[in-house]
């Protein structure tokens, strides 16, 4: 019996390793949710069409080299409802999101370009507030917004406003992140509590009629990255910014790229009690909920404690912790040791996180 089960499992894993083919007839919300459908869209349509060496790693930011200058380039579009939420707003996200993609690629953010798609009828004060939020966020992140574009679309078209930003950074010499450097025994380090941003947004939408004191964690990550690579740069294998799809998605990508297993200790993962409570009620797992100011790093075992200490010394990194390790098995998968003393798989997010019933 057990042998047959293993055979079936092996067959499934083989199939999962094939390059995903994008065969859908229409785009659904799932294609934008950051999970499997998004992955299929990118790996099955965009990547083969645009194929080039800088794109190939499908990283948060592309590494480009121009006349010996080691640069990083990243872009991101922001569509959030509501525009303002506890702890932040779309403007602040638009800056932090892009500078963070650079930061986790080991690049110090230098400059940003911003494009605005604005809905006809938007209150000018709303726009003023967002421009101001961007100005302040850029100041905190130490970047200049150097160019931009504006389009206005008909009423009913853009949920108030959408913002897209593109960032340029220069790669730091002290770190060479590469997913294929991940090795058995490495530790997974998180800079703080997870699930805050996504939970804050869901609560702010107000259709849950639930009150909890949860604010978004949106923040620039460069200070944390610099603290980390200043202390243990050469031992850092890879850094990620677990936004859409959450920590679970990032770990699955890493396990897949490295073809190794990642084992997470549920107990060790920092989650605020309010977030845990809200997720429990909604039937969601905080591991899949978006973060906007958290750093996840894979660090060599010997350097892991020093990495945590370094992160804890930076404001915003006080709750840093080692949450898991890299193992040989189950290859390409993420395993969770549950608080309850059991084990389970943690797969990539499928579809939009829809709350279950009962």
């Amino acid at each position: 019996m057990a042998g047959l089960e293993e055979e079936v499992l092996a067959r499934i894993e083989r199939q999962r390793k094939l390059r995903p083919r994008f065969r859908d007839h229409t785009l659904t919300m799932a294609h934008g949710a950051g999970g499997k459908a998004t992955h299929t869209l990118i790996a099955g349509l965009f990547a083969p069409a645009f194929d080039n060496p800088a794109l190939a790693p499908l990283a948060d930011a592309a590494a480009v080299e121009i006349d010996g200058a080691r640069l990083a380039l990243s872009t991101d579009a922001f569509v959030v409802k509501p525009l303002r939420f506890p702890g932040g707003s779309i403007g602040e996200l638009a800056v932090n999101g892009t500078v963070n993609d650079l930061a986790v690629s080991g690049a110090r953010p230098l400059a940003l370009a911003a494009a605005f798609v604005i809905e006809e009828g938007l209150d000018a004060d709303v726009l003023r507030a967002e421009v101001n939020a961007m100005k302040e966020a850029a100041g905190r992140a130490g970047v200049a917004i150097v160019t931009g574009d504006t389009k206005v679309v008909e009423r009913g078209k853009a949920d108030g406003m959408y913002i897209a930003t593109t960032g340029l950074g220069v790669r730091d010499e002290r770190v060479r992140p590469a997913a294929d450097s991940i090795a058995v025994g490495d530790r997974i380090v998180l800079s703080g509590t997870i699930g805050d941003h996504g939970t804050a947004i869901m609560l702010a939408r107000g259709d849950l009629e639930m009150d909890a004191d949860v604010v978004s964690d949106t923040a620039p990550l460069w200070a944390l990255v610099e603290g980390l690579i200043g202390a243990v740069g050469e031992h850092v294998r890879v850094m990620r910014d677990p936004t859409r799809g959450g920590v679970a998605t990032v770990l699955n990508e890493l396990a897949g790229d490295a073809e190794l297993g990642i084992v997470v200790d549920e107990d060790a993962v920092p989650v605020r009690p309010e977030v845990k409570g809200a997720c429990e009620i909604l039937g969601l797992d905080p591991m899949y909920v978006a973060n906007e100011g958290k750093l996840l790093a894979v660090v060599a075992a010997d350097a892991a404690q020093a990495a945590v200490d370094a992160l804890r010394a930076v404001p915003g990194g006080e709750d840093a912790a080692i949450v898991g390790h890299v193992a040989e098995q189950p290859a390409g998968m993420v395993l969770v040791n549950t608080t309850f003393g059991g084990t389970r798989i943690m797969d990539m997010l499928i579809g939009d996180p829809l709350p279950r019933i009962c």
């Binding site: 845990k276 039937g283 059991g342 019933i357």
Partner: protein, 373 residues
């Protein structure tokens, strides 16, 4: 949330696991069915099987509300959803259930106004706020969710709201359990009774199981320790040669159930003579429809629906999975043609479905992981 952590303590789990193992006779194989999909989800999510000896097998039952919806009902729903002026509402999971020509989510992508709601009351509020639209709620669930549908309908009636209707797919838990017990291809030793359903119907309706079939039933809560404790209670009954209905979930479930909830259900619903269950076929008196007093709110009467019975896809073995006859991975398309992102069968859709739970949480060689590889 300390409340929750109390029920997830690994130390207590290990000691319960040891007690359970001590009660299991070597050489005997125990098959215990958890009827409820919520339990299936808990079992995989927390890795409860890691605390059980190898000769205790948990068999997953039919109590997943999304899993039992047949294709024809989805098609009927979509035919309403795609009408002009309709706002079609349902629970999140339901949107992904495939019909013969796509799911409600596909209908939404193609332009239908399909929205997910957290409760029938949310759907009702949508109706009140959009008086020029027809708001339809696709009601699913066992006795757990039926009372809130009933209360919402009572309110709609009192408040005279005309643009709200319900497509009722509520089902009842006892008939499929009876069908399972009568089925020759499955031999079980005991049942873990559903927690939420029992808060409404109480424990009495299960008494026929020990009385007529000699099998213990323990109604259990949804925390992992609840389940382990229920399994322990079952093993004690089996070891002592008893068969009775016991209530592990006494902190929530009253023996007599919730009389008020049963009353409102009585008023708003009546039993359908028969209803098709996905994979299980027609089961008599196993589902609810709106009573004549509420016929005005019945979406099936308000809108013309095809009402065609659609055969399940050939490859689909959901029926066998729902009956616990095969394990999810024994289905020929499991994990290859049928995955959570492209489900063929319903058990792969809901997080409470056995196939989805196993695929998402249990798809690894437990023995190897336990050995600490």
């Amino acid at each position: 949330m300390r409340f929750v952590d109390e029920f997830r303590n690994a130390e207590i789990a290990r000691s319960l696991g040891a007690k359970i193992a001590a009660l299991a006779e070597p050489g005997r194989h125990y098959k215990i069915m958890e009827v409820c999909g919520g339990h299936t989800h808990t079992i995989y999510k927390h890795g409860i099987e890691d605390h059980l000896p190898d000769n205790i097998e948990l068999v997953h039952g039919p109590g997943c509300p999304v899993c039992v919806i047949p294709m024809g009902r989805v098609d009927d729903g979509i035919s309403i959803a795609t009408r002009d002026g309709v706002i079609f509402t349902c629970f999140g999971d339901m949107m992904r259930v495939p019909g013969s020509n796509g799911s409600l989510l596909d209908a939404k992508a193609a332009g239908a106004d399909v929205r997910f709601v957290y409760s029938p009351l949310d759907a009702y509020k949508l109706a009140r706020n959009n008086p020029d639209r027809e708001v339809v709620f696709f009601a699913i669930g066992f006795e757990t969710t039926a009372p809130s549908t009933a209360l919402t309908l009572m309110r709609a009636k009192t408040e005279g709201i005309k643009n709200f209707s319900v497509m009722c797919n509520h089902v009842t838990i006892i008939p499929p359990v009876k069908a399972l017990l009568e089925s020759p291809d499955l031999r079980l030793d005991a049942f873990i009774g559903p927690g939420h359903v029992s808060t409404v119907i109480g424990c009495r309706p299960y008494e026929f199981i020990p009385a007529d079939y000699g099998q213990p039933v323990v109604v259990a809560g949804f925390e992992p320790l609840d389940l382990l404790q229920a399994i322990h209670m079952i093993m004690l009954q089996l070891a002592e040669g008893r068969a009775e209905v016991e209530n592990q979930y006494g902190r929530v479930v009253a023996w007599e159930g919730n009389l008020r909830a049963l009353q409102v259900m009585q008023e708003v619903f009546e039993l359908r003579p028969y209803f098709e269950w996905r994979g299980l076929g027609f089961i008599s008196q196993s589902a609810l429809k709106l009573s004549p007093a509420y016929a005005d709110f019945d979406a099936e009467l308000r809108f013309e629906v095809p009402g065609v019975r659609v055969a399940d896809p050939k490859a689909c073995q959901c029926g066998e999975v729902l009956k616990g006859v095969i394990k999810p991975w024994e289905c020929k398309v499991f994990g290859t043609a049928c995955t959570p992102e492209k489900p063929i069968g319903t058990c792969m859709v809901s997080s409470e479905g056995a196939c989805a739970a196993y695929y998402n949480y249990g798809r690894f060689a437990r023995s190897r992981a336990r050995a600490g590889a």
